[in-house]
């Protein structure tokens, strides 16, 4: 089966970024982008620039906070951390996503069990 690369579904980037930050704690933009690419195992097309636009939105909503620090290779970088409001939002979004995904799965497999 030929491997295809899909674009990120609209509205899901915020969710992925929040989840990444929740799992890995404080992280800079490049780290977040790399992590999502790794998790996607090459199946997702991630335009790294859009991660930064997504982070701007999350910061404005106060779902993540920022702090300047030093990266592994001693470079100055902006680190993002998920806030309490961000965690609550992540929980709500995750539940919502699972519900929708479940519905889609059920719609796409109608014959099963019948």
């Amino acid at each position: 089966m030929a491997e295809t690369r899909s674009p990120i579904l609209q509205g899901t980037l915020d969710l992925m970024v929040l989840k990444t930050l929740e799992q890995l704690g404080s992280l800079h933009g490049y780290g977040i982008a790399r992590r999502i690419e790794q998790v996607g195992q090459g199946a997702l097309v991630v335009n790294q620039g859009t991660i930064y636009l997504c982070l701007v939105r999350l910061v404005q909503k106060k779902w993540v906070s920022t702090k300047w620090g030093l990266s592994d290779n001693n470079r100055k970088a902006k680190f993002y951390t998920v806030t309490k409001a961000g965690r609550a939002q992540l929980k709500a979004e995750t539940e919502n996503w699972e519900r929708i995904a479940g519905v889609i799965v059920r719609v796409l497999q109608p014959a099963e069990g019948s």
Binding site: Q48, G49, Y52, S71, N73, K76
Partner: protein, 943 residues
Amino acid sequence: MPTFLHVCVARIRAFLRPGDLDREFEQELASHLAMAEAEKIRQGMTPKQARRAARVELGGLTQLREASREAWGLPWLDSFWLDIKLGLRMLRKSWGMTLIGGLAMTIAIFIGVVVFTFFDFAYGGTLPLDDGDRVIAIQTWDDKARRRHQTSLPDFERWRDALRSVEDLGAFQTIEHNLIIGGGSSEPEPEAGLAEPVIVAEMTASGFELARVPPLLGRTLVEDDERAGAVPVVVIGYNEWQSRFLGDPAVVGRTIRLGDTVHIVVGVMPEGFVFPVSHRFWTPLRADQSGHLPPAPEASVFARLAPGVTLEGAQAELTTLGLLPAASLQASRFQASILQAAGLQESGKELEARVMPYTFAFTGDADRGQVRWVIRLVLVLVTLLLIPPCANIAILVYARTITRQEEFAARYALGAGRGRIVGQLFVEMLVLAAAAAGVALLVVNLSLRWAEANLVSESLGGLPFWIDFSLSFRSVLFAAGMAVVAAMIAGLVPALKATGRQMRSGLHTLGSRTSMQLGGTWTALVVAQVALSLAALPAAVEIGWGTIRHGILGPGFAAEEYLTAELAMGREARSGSVAEGAVAEDGARPFARRFGALQGELVRRLLAEPGVLGVTVAALPGDEPWKSVEIESIESISRPQEGPQQVTGQGLEGGILGARSLVRVNHVDEAFFDVFDVPLLTGRGFDTGDFDPERTAVIVNRTFAEQLVGDGNPLGRRVRYFRRQGEEAAATDERTWYEIVGVVADRPAHVDRGTIYFPVAAGQLHPTGLALRVRSDPASVSDRLREITTSLDPNLRLDKVLTLDEIYREKQVGNNIGASSLAVITLSVLLLSAAGLYSLLSFTVNQRRREIGIRSALGAQPRRLLASIFRRALSQFAVGALLGVLVALALDYYLPAETVGGWNVPGVIPAAAAFMIVIGLLAAAGPARRGLRVEPIEELRNS
């Protein structure tokens, strides 16, 4: 919910410090690229490859920066600001359109704001009293006749005792009295001072409690003062205290005389207190002998809503309580005679009580719900006034937009969306409309100041105290709304049209001349505009001339030699027989007899004065041309015995003077024509017998006679009229035939209008006008006039004592304002149509430059070339002009300017047409010159 707020705060903060975030973002991107490159080098790429790969993965840096800026700040505000700057630049560049369009918009917005402000004054006011919005009025309402009705005293007393939803219930009525300041004794002599008419509020004591304003000195009225037989007392206002008593601190206890009753001053109210409307004297209200309170606005019942009660709650309680059965209330003779005089029958009433906000009770017999709808409708209509000027500006904008097609195409290619370009055009017009609204508000504000200074000081009672002459916030908001609508019509419509389908074609023509068309719609609009301007021009000239000619030509006689006044008699002396303003049918009634006797005595005494040359009594003592009652049509026969089927008339169709010959009416005494030096041309003047109410002799002026019989003999001809303006036509057999017994010369001030003079005997007219011809110094005669009047009877009131010259001049101020406004509006319409034609021709020349170039290169005569190019546009102009002339002719025939205060100017329509052609040629001159300057070589090279 705070998420939304967080975003707003963050965006505003970012907007305020854009540089910081840009720098941070750059830093972040740089560190991202460095990390990515390092990792790729570690994976074995060369530094060059690594840098390139890192950049590709991150995406376009410029777009990213742009997107982050949009995500952070308030991008629309940035572009809005940019559009405003562009708009200002554009306005400066095409200053002609700015001036013409701005003027037209200003006029439309000005009219809108004036109408809105008027409604705001009339219906939007709340009382500037403590909890003023809880003060209400209660009316007895005749639902069948749709008008207010007198409130009966038993009903009023029942409301006062039973209603729980209101408190401080009371009533007032306004009456006019002669005021004479007494010398301190309880019986001041009439000679103690000059009588001066003043407005007095007869009010229940509860009015002062309702207003919650304590007196400055002494006390307010108390309930005991209302008792029959109580000592007459008066409370005076601050200004009266200052001006009439020089601020005497011992004023309480002094006496003044109102009419023939001496009142003791018991209190002074503080400055600014003029409750209930604009009053400065308060006396206790006592029911009249009929047991009724006079009808509002003469008498109004007021109250304050009890705490926690709404207007609806009060209405519900009042409806439940109901009115006493109308049958139990004996209609008084006084009331019956009033109704009779007004032509109404006392039957079939459906009375109910209704509650309304206090100020609403002073705005006529309107239903509140209906008024709201009417206001909305009128405001919509007023806003629609924006359409003609803005549609014109839209033509100009569209023509200009087409010439800017290349600019827009280029911006489109560089990534600006259609919305962005439409937005820019909209904002350009919004800048213009906002400026127009600003100017309109400024003019409204100045007009309000002027009105405040002139209207308030001139009217005796002053305006209601809740009317505030400052420009309200609501008016400003309304002007802003009108500006947005104007910008939408003038900017949005042409922008959408110009950027729609053609945008793509415009893109193709980038660099070469556009092939866009000025469509049929726009051309039709220009034609319609020309037609409208030409149609309106003659009427505007005639109305304008009619308005200012008195000022320019003067009244035509020595108006400064005439002193006029209005003479009336106070209520105390009336036994209730004569209605205000009506000619009494029975002169023998006591009031009319008394008034007639006093009037005769006054004339006799005045004639004995050394400076007085003549005295006359008339409905319109100065025969003021703008004031008369007009009769819409007259029918005439030579001999009444032959009946109306014999109606004949030389010089008029079917013996009827149609609407084109409005007739003026005056009621005059025997001396009138002598006093005003009006020569008798034929027939006789009025003799003593003519003043018998049974007699039907009338005198007409020369114009009337000419209109009626041409060169024939008007004497002995009988006339009767269909109806007076604003009245229903009387039934045929109820109309009286009057016989023309004499013809007098036209009065200089109004030679164009037929006038009919009815004889009126002393006492038949109340109130009546008085005119004195004086030898010199009208001021001293005016003092004598007051003295004599007061000495005859303290109840005899003189009002509006002015020389005719003053009256004419006063009238002229308003006329000049009216004429100037008309001139500005007409000028704006003319300019707009010239501008429309100008852009049509400019556009044609622009579009066909190449053709002009090629044809002149091939040897065509430039002038003939131009003529062929302009032929189409000019023939459209001619069609518009022709239509305009036709409409003007129709307008002149069906609605002559004379009927709306204009003055017939011979040859005005051809003159207007010629003027319009000159304007058209001037508008064509610019584009034509440009067309002639086209360089063939240049144009050929460009193509």
